[in-house]
Structure formats: structure tokens, C-alpha cells
Amino acid sequence: MKATALRYGSLLIILSILLLGVVAYRLRATADDELPRVQLNADNIGPRPIEDLTSKTVQRDYALAWQTMEQAVSENKSALLDGYLTGLAKEDFTKRVDSQIKSGLHAHYTDRGHKLDALFYSPSGDAMELRDHAQLDVQILDGGKVIYDEPVNAEFIVLMTPGADRWLVRQIQATNGEKP
């Protein structure tokens, strides 16, 4: 009786662990599908004040840009960059993806959020510069093997420009955070 109870108890524990593992994996995958968190602080923006709608649109489109960038370097599909990137940002990420394909690499980003500070909004509304404090977990994989896995607190200077129905990331450049 005791032995049977023990056997069933062990089986239950193993099953629970397996189930939790699957749930954790699915949750992780779901988290990847969600938009990265983006917070915009426009207190110091100038010379043009930012409109409410523009503020919301910029946050949403910046999050979508990161989601597409992360997906592109993970799946090595540069076509994904067409939606929210343009100009140098699109060119550079396309080169990155092509380079990864050639080397058999891909990158996986877990996005833990972005804090944006708006630095400049041009008087005619056709360009916006932002500083992004981003928290990411970066993994680089060679085939299926993880060769790099580190959390990164990165700072980016971002140039965004308005497109037909959205704001696009035109240039994104990581900095070391030192005042120039």
C-alpha cells in the first residue's frame, strides 16, 4: 500500500514537473510574441512640442520595430524589417541578417523593456531623436549551440521619421553611455 502510494506520488511529481516545464516554455514563447514594453518621456522634447497622438504612435511603432528586428535576427528573415524600419536602420539590419545566414548564426533577444527619452522633434515634424535605455537578454547561437548568453543594459540613440501611416526607425546606434 505504502509502496503503491509512493510510486503514484513519484509519478505525480514527475508529471507536474513536466507540465510546469511545458507551461513555462509556452509562457516564454507567448512573452516573445507580446510587444516589448516601451515608455516615453517627452518632458525635454523640443523645439516642437509632441502631440498626444504622436506620442502614443511613436511608442507603439518603436515597440513594433523592436519586435520585428528581434524576430528578423532570430529567424534570419530580412523581409520582416520592411514594416517598421527604413533607411540606414533597415540597411544595417539586413546586412546583419545576411551575415548571420552566411555564418550559420542567429540571435535571440528577450526584451525586458525600453525607456525612451525624447531629445529632439524637428519644427516641421519630420524627424524625432530619442535615447533608449534598453534591457535585453542576448543569446547568440551557432546552429543549435548557444555561444553567448548575457543580459545587456544598452543605450541607443534612435532617429525616427514619419511614414505614410506610422513612424519608422531610420537609424539606431548603440552608445557606451558616456557624455560626448
Binding site: K95, R96, S122, S124, A127, E129, E150, V152, A154, A174
Partner: protein, 285 residues
């Protein structure tokens, strides 16, 4: 002797199993070649992941790995990884922009009514030769060259790679050239100053073969600038036979039209939302 041999053997064994290491410069300027030193032994894979590249090469652990300048043109965060038999080791470094040498120059609008205060915005985004944002404060020289006026210059220091200025449009119609310069870069844009809406729109009528020739005085805005040729002036004539309308573009400063008029007629004129005077004429049978 045996002890000595054991010690020596253990020492070399320890050396061979020591983890490979990789040493990178802390900061690099874009477009500069560097050498990355590694420790360890045996065959290894070297990876250099940057903003626009992800390269993999076979190297010998323990050797110095040269990285060409063209692999380091993009400013940003780079990760150098060395994977040998004992595992992978990595190091990060930053590539900083080089000296400011290029501009993206945005000017709006491309057409503007004359005398509009602060109506023109000029924004210069400063780059290095590799199109990285040059974030170090740099002096940008803006210049304005209006038609028949002396050129004027002003310097602005860029902040986070951006310099900007607002300008009032010229008093006279015509093209104005705006310039921005830094390093070897010198960009020019053209802004057309145009006359404002027509002012004091006046018409006169004279008899001709077909009936009447209706003609405007030279069409100007309130500041005396000629309204450009091609601007539409609408003539409307009402007489016993009905109503006649013609949209006529200004040609050489004047709009004119011939109209057959039967009996008494009233003629009015408009351009856009601006109306002019009314005429009453008496035509022949």
C-alpha cells in the same frame, strides 16, 4: 626526480586545460583596424557580432586576430566570441563614430509665401564618413542666399548629432538657396518664395470683334509681388442669354478672356477665395 617530473607534467597539463581568453580594446573609432588577442591553444572559432555584421572564422586559440577596418565601420556595440574545445568566452567593446564629415539636411517647406516669420525650418543631422551619427558637439554653418540679396551665415553647435535653425522667408518672390556645411560636407536646398493671395483684383473691359475683351490689371499680392503665371482667375458673366464662366490662367502677369455679350451684362472675377470688382457692360446684338 619523480616528484620533479610530476610537477612539470602537472604544470603543462594545467596549462593545456586553462580556459581560452579574449582581450579587446575598450573603445575603437569607426573605420580603424584593431587586433584582438586571445589565449589558449588548439583550433577555435572566432565570432565578431556587430550592428551590421555577424562573422565566423576559424582561428588558432592563443593567436592575435586582426580585424580589418571595414569590419568596424558601423558605430555601436560589438561582441567578440572565441569558442575552443574548452568552451566559449566573450568580450564586448564599443565602436565610436569618427569625426563629423557628412550631413543629412532637411529643409521645410519647399514653397512658402513671402515674408513668413520663422516659416522655414532647417535641420542638419551630423554623420561621420561612415554615416554613423556623430554625437560629439560639432559646429554646423548654415547660410541663406536669397535672390538679389547678400548671403548671410550663422553657426550652430550640434547636440546629440542635430543642429537646427528657423528662418523668415524673403520679402521678394523667387528662389532662395539654403546651405549647411561641416567638414567636407556642403549641402544646398532651394526654397521657392511665392506671392501670397491676389490682392485688389481688378478687371477692365474693352470692345473687340467677338464682343468684349475682359482683362485683369497685373495681378499682385498685397506686398506688390506678382502672383505667379498659371494661377487661375475665374471670370463670370451674366446676361440675357444665360451665365458664362471661364477659368483662365494668368499669363505674363495678366488674365484675359474674350466674351460675346448680348445686351446688358454683369461681369465678376475671382481667384481662389479672393474676389475682385464687378463690371456692368452693354453688348451689341
Amino acid at each position: 626526480m619523480r616528484l620533479l617530473l610530476t610537477v612539470v607534467f602537472t604544470f603543462f597539463a594545467a596549462l593545456s586545460v586553462a580556459a581560452s581568453e579574449i582581450r579587446v580594446p575598450a573603445q575603437v573609432t569607426a573605420g580603424t583596424a584593431i587586433t584582438i588577442s586571445t589565449s589558449g591553444s588548439g583550433e577555435a572559432s572566432f565570432y565578431l557580432i556587430g550592428p551590421a555584421s555577424a562573422n565566423k572564422t576559424k582561428v588558432q586559440a592563443g593567436s592575435n586576430i586582426p580585424v580589418d577596418s571595414d569590419q568596424l565601420e558601423h558605430a555601436g556595440r560589438y561582441v567578440a566570441i572565441l569558442c575552443a574545445s574548452d568552451g566559449c568566452t566573450a568580450a564586448n567593446f564599443f565602436v565610436n563614430p569618427a569625426e563629423a564629415n557628412r550631413l543629412s539636411f532637411l529643409v521645410h517647406p519647399s514653397r512658402i509665401p513671402v515674408g513668413t516669420p520663422d516659416g522655414i525650418s532647417a535641420v542638419a543631422i551630423v554623420h561621420d564618413s561612415f554615416r554613423n551619427l556623430a554625437l560629439k558637439p560639432s559646429p554646423v554653418t548654415f547660410s541663406i542666399m536669397a535672390k538679389n540679396e547678400k548671403p548671410v551665415s550663422a553657426a550652430r553647435t550640434s547636440e546629440n548629432g542635430v543642429a537646427w535653425v528657423r528662418l523668415t522667408s524673403a520679402r521678394k518672390e523667387g528662389p532662395t538657396r539654403l546651405g549647411a556645411a561641416i567638414g567636407h560636407a556642403d549641402e544646398i536646398r532651394v526654397v521657392q518664395q511665392v506671392a501670397a493671395d491676389a490682392c485688389n483684383l481688378r478687371i477692365k473691359a474693352s470692345r473687340d470683334k467677338r464682343g468684349f475683351l475682359i482683362e485683369t490689371d497685373p495681378v499682385h499680392d498685397c506686398a506688390g509681388n506678382s502672383v505667379p503665371d498659371g494661377t487661375v482667375v475665374s471670370f463670370t458673366e451674366s446676361d440675357a442669354a444665360g451665365k458664362t464662366t471661364v477659368d483662365v490662367p494668368i499669363k505674363r502677369g495678366v488674365a484675359k478672356v474674350e466674351m460675346p455679350i448680348d445686351g446688358r451684362a454683369k461681369i465678376t472675377v475671382a481667384s481662389g477665395v479672393v474676389t475682385g470688382n464687378e463690371l456692368e457692360v452693354a453688348g451689341g446684338q
